[in-house]
């Protein structure tokens, strides 16, 4: 499990670095060689514009990873801040912030991200914005729940009675104790951000042509499924391997940090 996860991640990292060293061009079109089967020249074949699928898959990993890391970092920061403040301050502020998260939770899955991306317009920046606007909720809920429990701990009460400011207590005495749970959550949610990014691109709301992204590639691949079934299969297998590796990586991290899986229902 651990070896699979690590070796898959290492494999993709290696592929991305190699692609940069060799200098493949994922947007190079060759209309004389469209929808070709895998060959020595094009290891995974070519797409409907004669572009090398392998080069595009690797660029897709890069883009996907970049989006995922940005979205995870932003949503984690926002979510933790809201959760910490709501849990620590309590009262009306807590009530209002939790009411806000409940409203966001009323939209199932990526529905709200789809809606935001739809009105903001397609493109990678709006894609990231849409995913950030909707992704903070789980972190907020999780860190609030933890903060509520940690607030009563002796070391927190001690710090308070010594006159530490709220900010100091939250950042130095509470945050370090909940960070491991949030890291595990982040590892799992990276996989779902990746799927969400691909879903939005699949619907034409994310990364735009000619740039490579897995969702957009799958969208094309489905159109040419009859003549080039290898296209949809290879893109899907690549994507699944990475998602699986991240999920298993989350399991490994959870065991390492000894976090009980209470965050996952």
């Amino acid at each position: 499990m651990k070896t699979f996860s690590l070796s898959t991640l290492a494999f993709w990292l290696f592929a991305v670095i190699m692609a940069h060293i060799v200098g493949t061009n994922p947007n190079h079109t060759d209309l004389e060689a469209i929808l070709q089967w895998p060959s020595l020249q094009h290891w995974l074949g070519t797409d409907d514009l004669g572009r090398d699928i392998l080069a595009r898959v690797i660029r897709g990993v890069e883009v996907s990873f970049m989006v995922t890391v940005i979205v995870t970092a932003v949503t984690m920061t926002i979510g933790i801040s809201i959760g910490l403040i709501a849990g620590y301050k309590g009262g009306k502020l807590d009530h209002a912030l939790m009411q806000l998260t409940n409203i966001f939770l009323a939209f199932p899955g990526i529905l709200l991200a789809i809606a935001f991306a739809a009105v903001l317009g397609a493109g990678i920046n709006n894609l990231i914005l849409a995913l950030c606007l909707t992704g903070w909720v789980t972190y907020a809920r999780l860190s609030r729940g933890q903060t509520l429990a940690l607030r009563e701990r002796l070391h927190v009460l001690a710090a308070e009675s010594l006159g530490a400011s709220s900010l100091r207590v939250m950042l130095l005495h509470i945050l370090p104790l909940l960070i491991s749970i949030l890291l595990v959550e982040a590892a799992y949610s990276m996989a779902s951000v990746m799927i969400a990014e691909a879903s939005l691109s699949f619907l034409g709301l994310g990364i735009q042509a000619p740039n490579a992204s897995w969702g957009a590639m799958l969208r094309d691949a489905v159109r040419f499924m009859l003549v080039a079934p290898h296209y949809v299969l290879t893109v899907g297998v690549c994507m699944m391997s990475l998602i699986l590796a991240i999920n298993l990586g989350g399991d490994v991290l959870r065991d390492k940090l000894d976090v009980r899986s209470e965050s996952r229902s």
């Binding site: 529905l111 969702g215 009859l226 899907g236 298993l248």
Partner: protein
């Protein structure tokens, strides 16, 4: 009961606010975006009045909410059809798809989960776990096309897409249901293993009941209870997953209506679809909550 329903009110109002805000999040003038640069001033003015954009924000929101309470979602900019009519056509199709997928998920997930728990630690259990982890990692927009490729294109057993024959539902429903079954398998397994360690199961065994009776009469009832909540939560991902699945298989449900409206920049339809899906999800969750309370004797008396 009534207290619980009133606690829903802020959420519903919030959902209304968010869907209302969607139209106002369009960068620039929504009228420009929807009609394009070449539209005549008269058309623009008409649409502006139609959407109520000539009034103040508060007036607009009040109008929006009161129209929805009356069941009026406005008209589609593209076809001028009342949106209520579009929803009435699409919603049942999505419900049928979601419930078929749910049945598939339950029919595969629960037996596999039970089997896996009974064989815990054996190779059968390991195999089921491996397969379900992989299935759960398979996004619908890949599983769907692959199923389509194998069963409709290569084997020719099932229709590729559309809704022409009753068999058309099989592929989209399986696409949605398989992912769900993977989650249910794992939940059933965990839940049953937990219950089998309880004292009352040992008591049942000690008084000489057969394994079968222990399982059917004592363990399963308790083990399957938490699944009610999971199923409720998963209905939400079924509704959201339907957006992708319906697009792939040309299933004329609410998800496809949503994606179509986005492509045509028919924002009133987009708003209505998002609102209806979200409200369905809120109500389903509330219903599962009540069902759980009713089913679980421990919580029946509480509040």
């Amino acid at each position: 009961m009534i207290k619980r329903l009133t606690s829903l009110l802020p959420v519903i109002i919030g959902v209304l606010c968010l869907t209302f805000a969607l139209l106002h999040m369009v960068p620039g003038d929504p009228v420009d975006v929807m009609l394009g640069e070449s539209a005549s001033p008269a058309d623009r003015e008409l649409l502006k009045v139609q959407l109520g954009l000539d009034q103040s924000l508060y007036m607009q929101f009040g109008q929006y909410v009161s129209n929805i309470l009356k069941g009026d979602f406005g008209v589609s900019i593209h076809t001028q059809t009342p949106i209520t009519q579009l929803l009435a056509q699409a919603y049942p199709a999505t419900l049928i798809l979601a419930f078929t997928a749910l049945s598939i998920g339950l029919l595969i997930g629960i037996p596999l989960g039970i089997w896996s728990a009974l064989k815990a630690g054996h190779w059968q259990d390991v195999m089921v776990t491996m397969v379900s982890i992989r299935l759960a990692a398979m996004p619908a927009f890949w599983l769907g096309p692959v199923l389509m490729l194998v069963f409709a294109v290569w084997l020719g057993w099932l229709p590729v897409s559309g809704m022409s024959s009753p068999a058309s539902i099989i592929l989209p429903a399986v696409t949605l249901g398989l992912g769900l079954s993977a989650i249910l398998t794992r939940m059933t397994r965990t839940s049953l293993l937990e219950v089998l360690n309880e004292d009352y199961i040992r008591t049942a065994r000690a008084k000489g009941l057969s394994e079968r009776q222990v399982l059917l009469k004592h363990a399963l009832r308790a083990a399957l209870l938490p699944l009610v909540t999971i199923v409720g939560l998963q209905m939400g991902s079924l509704l959201a997953g339907a957006v992708i699945t319906e697009t792939i298989f040309s299933w004329n449900g609410i998800g496809r209506l949503l994606v179509d409206s986005i492509e045509k920049r028919d924002y009133p339809v987009t708003q209505a679809c998002v609102l209806v899906i979200a409200l369905s999800y809120v109500l389903i969750n509330q219903a599962t909550d009540l069902a759980y309370r009713w089913l679980d004797p421990r919580t029946r008396g509480a509040r």
